[in-house]
């Protein structure tokens, strides 16, 4: 029978008395100078084991014993299963390594799958009417600070409204929206506000070379409305805050910048996903309304130039149109998709590498060789990575495909559906992100 050395506190004063603890036949004896107590061992509560911190035995009647002999405490009192499991996890480096991997995996699942799905479900269930007050409020605030009444003639506004309504009807689209024209220093831009308000700046109408281009941008904004992106952004913001708070909870005060960076990364990530979704929607809507999707591509380029030239580029986190080139390519791709690939005579040219109008550009085409010899999957890539494999063309021989005109191995001409063609040159492949296999 072993004696456990411990300190005894009677719970009434802070006086500590050295005692010995002996357990036999279900009875726990506390023995010290001028002190002898006996308890039913089952009535003694003990604190859970945490690393090698001292353990407490809470005695019936308010007293307590403390000891550093963790093993003895585990021996003399009944251990609950979860206690043993927790201690095992917390004490072995191998489990810690496993936990790191599992945490990383779960965070990825949460960020990549959980949040988007949950947010989409919730957003669907919030009635559009609930957004009405927010939409009105936001528009009013913008009107006060950043926008003025449109200088476009009323007839022009009405004609654009009518054309977009026709387009929506032709595409079978019933999502409610309202179209607002405004003048603003932000340059050529358009954005969607809660409750389906779409704002178009005069500059956007001005830089457009045809109404088809304006309609393309409106279709994109309607995509935001249709997919409830303003509501989703709001929910994503809250979800991001919760995740970050959960993970970095105990250093929030000392390293707030360290917490701000992942917040920003997560939010821009979700925002890019939303933009892609709106783009895909716009292309689809334009095709259903029998409108050439390259209109969207062309005006996006011009919008970028118009805002860049004036030196008032709005930061990415405020802009609804962050990745013009990637998106331009998307619309072009969608337009090109309508024709099937054609076989020609096979000549072996290595098409791997990034093809750009000039190598300084961030966006370009990637030709990825497929298993079958001489067949490639062509995708659009940008700094954020490549869009789904085959976004431009799922499989093509390039040589003999009427879309392409191969000049020589380093230069290629891509014919656009409207008869134009763009020349691309091959750039070093390191500049380009790997094509993710999704």
């Amino acid at each position: 029978m072993s004696v456990i050395e411990a300190g005894y506190f009677d719970g009434k004063s802070s006086l500590k008395r050295p005692v010995g603890i002996v357990v036999s036949r279900g009875r726990m004896k506390i023995i010290g100078r001028d002190l002898e107590q006996e308890f039913d061992a089952r009535l003694v509560r003990r604190s859970l084991r945490i690393a090698n911190t001292p353990r407490w035995l809470y005695l019936p009647g308010g007293g307590a014993c403390v000891t550093s002999d963790n093993a003895a405490v585990d021996r003399i009192t009944r251990e609950r299963r979860y206690e043993r499991v927790l201690h095992k996890w917390e004490s072995r480096p191998a489990y810690a390594a496993l936990a790191v991997a599992l945490v990383a995996g779960m965070l990825w699942l949460l960020v990549d799958r959980g949040v988007p799905v949950a947010v989409e479900r919730i957003a669907e269930h919030i009635p559009v009417e609930a957004e009405a007050a927010l939409g009105r409020e936001t528009l009013r605030a913008l009107d006060e600070r950043m926008m003025r009444k449109s200088a476009l003639p009323g007839s022009r506004q009405d004609s654009l409204r009518a054309k977009f309504a026709d387009m929506a009807r032709a595409a079978g689209e019933t999502t409610p929206y309202s179209l607002e024209f405004r003048q603003s220093f932000i340059g050529a831009n358009a954005f969607a506000l809660p409750s389906g308000i779409i704002v178009v700046t005069d500059d956007l109408v001005r830089v457009s070379r045809s109404d088809g281009e304006v309609l393309g941008v409106l279709a994109h904004e309607l995509g935001h409305v249709k997919h409830r992106h303003t509501m989703r952004r709001l929910l994503e913001g809250s979800a991001t805050a919760l995740i970050i708070a959960g993970v970095t909870g105990d250093v929030a005060s000392t390293t707030s910048l360290a917490a701000a960076a992942p917040t920003l990364l997560l939010q821009t990530r979700y925002s890019r996903d939303n933009e892609r979704e709106a783009d895909a929607y716009a292309v689809q809507m334009m095709r259903r309304a029998d409108l050439d999707p390259t209109y969207l591509a062309r005006i996006l380029t011009r919008m970028e130039r118009s805002s860049g030239a004036r030196g008032t580029r709005i930061p990415t986190f405020l802009s609804t149109h962050p990745q013009t080139r990637e998106r331009e390519a998307l619309a072009l791709a969608a337009a090109g998709e309508t024709r099937g690939p054609q076989r020609g005579k096979e000549e072996r040219i290595d098409f791997t590498g990034l093809w750009k109008e000039d190598c300084e550009q961030l966006y370009g085409l990637q030709f990825k060789p497929l298993e079958k010899h001489g067949v490639y999957s062509v995708s659009l890539c940008g700094p954020a990575g490549c869009l789904d494999p085959g976004t431009y063309r799922p499989n093509t021989t390039v040589q003999g495909d009427p879309t392409y005109d191969v000049l020589y191995a380093e230069e290629i001409l891509i014919k656009q559906p409207r008869g134009d063609s763009t020349s691309y040159v091959k750039c070093a492949s390191e500049v380009m992100p790997e094509l993710p296999d999704r």
Binding site: S13, S14, T53, V100, L134, A252, E360, L362, P383
Partner: protein, 354 residues
Amino acid sequence: MTSPTGALNADERLVQPEFTGTAAEYFRIWIVNLFFTLATLGIYSAWAKVRKRRYFYGSTRLDGDSFDYFASPKAILNGRIIAVAIFAIYALAGELYPHSRYAFWAAGVLAFPWLVVRALAFNSRNSAYRGLRFNFEATTKQAARVYIGMLAVVVLTAGLAFPWFMARQKAFVVSQHAFGTSRFECELPAQRFYGIYIRATLLLLAFTVPGVALIAYLTFKQYDGSVSLPESFAWLAWLLPVLPVYIGYAISYAYVQARSANLLWSKVHGPGLRFACTLSARKLTRLYFGNVIAVACSAGLLIPWAVIRTLRYRLANFSMIVAGSPVHHMNPSLAPVGASSQELGDFFNVDVGV
């Protein structure tokens, strides 16, 4: 050599806390907490909080004995559920009906004294040392006088009364704490707080103004085309202006933390007890920056290391001066307190401590 604690009297002895926690040990507890929290979609976070705190309390020894924390995780979980629900309502309602925020803020200000009292009471009554619980004895009315009354004064003086408010608030929090029946006392001279805050403001300006001016100049140069960032580094243009402000803020924050903690503890005393705190603003600043860099570069894996390092530094600069061998006695009238106020406070990032 003069010690920052002042000379010890004949019957006094210096007691320095001993911290036995290590970064490796805490890393394992932290990552397992995180894992179970994620795996249970946040439910385990209440248990995680108790384990974390028990690890810190158990690893801190003062005069040979460690602290004990016995809050019930279930109480904390209830508190968290209430806090998350209120946060969700606040966030959603605030977005959909922007004016509803004012109602929330008003309710928050009015409920604040009650929240503070309950949160501090929950925490202190669940903390023990040598078998005796701590207590926070203030009533909501007393807290209201400090928080709402003094906040009104601060607003009326356009913030000039802020250091005075901080001095009163800290003195209030400390002096309402008790260990068993032994009360702590704390008298804080407001003029010393003015000194701290004025120097902190000057520090902030000294780092922020030249930094912001330089960035503004570079931004201007960038737009007129004489300096340009490569396209792939364009994001720097949005980060750089924030940096000097953040650095200046962190430095003056560390300065206020170090100096006010030192001042505060030098004025706290209980029966047979006084304290000393000798934090260096410079070392604390270095510690904070080291933490930020380490945490950012390790994708968060060095968070436990940063926490332990900070705690270790703070404890190494803390000491208690005991006269004789005072015995403290239990307060028989301690009733349990719910955890929801504390969790609400945590959630809305309300700093109620000292």
